[in-house]
């Protein structure tokens, strides 16, 4: 089966500093694939390169097309969407306006679906419905994360890339976020999940990669990866061993 996303030897430079050395990965249609790795490994850089926010070397194909030369906006229009680490919300605009703008690439074609999509995001995240006319800048950390996710969903993504969706959230909210991710896959969205919370990520994912100093050094089915001695030692620690037992 050909993959929805296929990246081969991606390489990114920030001026002279190398942000990504040699990253390769595949995301099958309908799968949740996770990339785990320590702080500074290049996970955020990898997603930014796949999104077209940073120029990169190597090859990337998505849904049968070569991504080289496709603008960020064209990728969004094709259903390749990113929830970035910094969320990048429109702080001065109302929650609902943030969501409506999420559908910007589609609005010229379908206007009636907008209301329906909006309702389905509100059903998924009822807190956003309560705060729909409030400025996005006034939201709490967890609500901002929900809004970022909701805004990306408004674009009707085919492949959703999530950069540390659990970052800075209380444990209860982390569970909610991972539950939402599993629900999205059930709704037919493929997911590329970047996480430092390796345990939770490997639990929800089908397949995983380990990224270290800009290189994908290890890959495998999520369950196998969770049992791999190197992963256990470095990323899962003691509680990882209990999970394996």
């Amino acid at each position: 089966m050909s993959a929805l996303l296929e990246a081969d030897a991606l390489r990114v430079f920030y001026r002279r500093v190398e942000g990504l050395h040699r990253a390769s990965l595949r995301v099958a249609e309908g799968a949740i694939v996770t990339v785990i790795g320590p702080n500074g490994a290049g996970k955020t850089t990898l997603l930014a390169a796949l999104m077209g926010l940073l120029p990169c070397g190597g090859r990337a194909r998505y849904a049968g097309i070569d991504l080289a030369g496709e603008s960020v906006e064209a990728r969004v229009a094709r259903g390749l969407c990113l929830v970035p680490e910094r969320r990048e919300l429109f702080g001065d605009l109302a929650v609902e306006d943030n969501l409506r703008l999420g559908a910007f690439t589609r609005t010229r074609r379908v206007d009636r679906q907008m209301a329906r999509d909006l309702e389905s995001v509100y059903a998924r995240f009822p807190r956003l419905a309560e705060r729909r006319s409030q400025a996005a800048g006034t939201l709490s950390g967890g609500e901002r994360q929900m809004l970022a996710l909701g805004r990306a969903l408004m674009a009707r993504p085919r492949l959703l890339m999530l950069d540390e969706p659990s970052l800075g959230l209380a444990p209860r909210l982390v569970r909610d976020v991972f539950r939402a991710i599993a629900a999205l896959r059930a709704a037919g969205v493929s997911i590329l999940l970047v996480e430092q919370n390796a345990r939770a990520a490997l639990q929800v994912a089908d397949y995983g990669y380990v990224l270290e100093t800009g290189e994908t050094v290890l890959e495998g089915a999520a369950a196998e990866l969770a049992a791999h001695p190197r992963v256990v030692a470095t990323y899962l620690g003691l509680s990882g061993q209990t999970a394996r037992a």
Binding site: S71, E73, V76, L82, E88, L93, D97, M154
Partner: protein, 346 residues
């Protein structure tokens, strides 16, 4: 100073101030969306004012050549870009935008000019001639430099200002023109003698402000512009092209510049370089308002209008000096009270 005179000065100040307010809004918009200090705004004012006067004289305004030439240059850039990237999908629409549209407007002007259309048609024609210069200028001078620093963009603005002002001299000549007032009537409101022209200016400015407010608070494209201003990366991630946002904000700014030129041309004699000083006063208004808030920019600009009209009564030789000196205390006060917020978290 008698009560009558001060009322008259007040009227003068509000009239000019509302034009400065429109210009201040345009400057703020362009700066927020593209980080560009929009110096060439003044040229659009001059172009529009002079074009209106020429149309009233039954002559073809030279701005059509600027429009055609600029459109040609922008189309050439699009073609080069498409050739380099080997992507043709957007090319037909963009060529139509930069070649067909200016061509059609120029042809209309060429046909209409000797027929002496009535005032409303003249105004519409002037707006149609000058507004497309905004996106064209953006395409030629700013879009290729989208990632550049504010300083580089400012230098580009100065260059664009000199080039457009030079073209103004070439195509309009050095003599000043003044168009006929929209309405000659005067009304007496108590002791105040209100000219219909002032009413026109104030009413048109208020109407444009209302339209702008509706656009930015109601329409998706208005919100997309605000989104770009608030968070550039976020805007790209929802599919708002920065070039679209830049082009749209320049179109709005050029429209406002053209309208200001139309409104002011019966009030003042306009030379090819007069617009620069007028736009600069809008800029002073925006600074007085803190360079960030639209309502405060409007108030600041009305303040500039008042200051100008009263200082021209007391010491007309120093009127410009007084107006431009007014920003010094404001800048001092702001630099003392504003905390520098580095890299604000979104």
């Amino acid at each position: 100073m008698s009560f009558d005179i001060s009322l008259w000065l007040l009227q003068d100040g509000v009239t000019n101030g509302s034009i400065y307010a429109l210009l201040a809004l345009a400057l703020l918009l362009v700066f927020a969306v593209t980080r560009t200090i929009f110096v060439p705004q003044g040229e659009f004012i001059s172009y529009a004012a002079l074009s209106l006067a020429l149309l009233q004289a039954g002559r073809l305004p030279g701005v059509v050549y600027v429009l055609l030439g600029g459109g040609l240059a922008a189309a050439a850039l699009e073609l080069a870009q498409a050739l380099r990237a080997r992507r043709w999908r957007h090319l037909p629409r963009r060529l139509a935008l930069y070649l067909l549209l200016p061509g059609a407007i120029a042809a209309l002007a060429w046909w209409a000019a000797p027929r002496k259309p009535d005032l409303a048609e003249q105004v519409l024609l002037v707006l149609a001639l000058v507004t497309p210069l905004g996106p064209i200028l953006y395409r030629i001078a700013y879009q290729p430099l989208a990632g550049a620093s504010i300083l580089v963009l400012f230098i580009v603005s100065m260059a664009a200002h000199y080039v457009l002002s030079g073209l103004g001299l070439v195509f309009f000549g050095g003599e000043g023109l003044r168009s006929r007032p929209f309405a000659d009537a005067h009304f007496r409101l108590g002791v105040l003698d209100v000219s219909a022209q002032s009413l026109w200016v104030v009413a048109a400015s208020l109407a444009i402000m209302l339209v702008l407010w509706l656009f930015f608070s109601r329409s998706l494209y208005g919100k997309a512009l605000r989104a770009t201003a608030v968070n550039r990366i976020g805007a790209r991630l929802v599919g708002v092209r920065p070039e679209l946002a830049g082009s749209l904000s320049f179109a709005i700014a050029a429209f406002i510049g053209a309208l200001s030129g139309v409104l002011i041309s019966p009030v003042t004699t306009i030379y090819y370089d007069t617009g620069f000083l007028i736009a600069l006063k809008g800029f002073v208004g925006a600074i007085l308002g803190g360079m960030g808030s639209y309502p405060l920019a409007v108030l600041g600009s009305l303040g500039v209008g008042m200051l100008e009209s009263f200082s021209s009564f007391w010491s007309s030789a120093f009127k410009e000096t007084i107006v431009f000196t007014a920003i010094i205390p404001v800048l001092l006060w702001r630099s003392l009270t504003t905390r520098q917020v580095e890299d604000e978290e979104e």
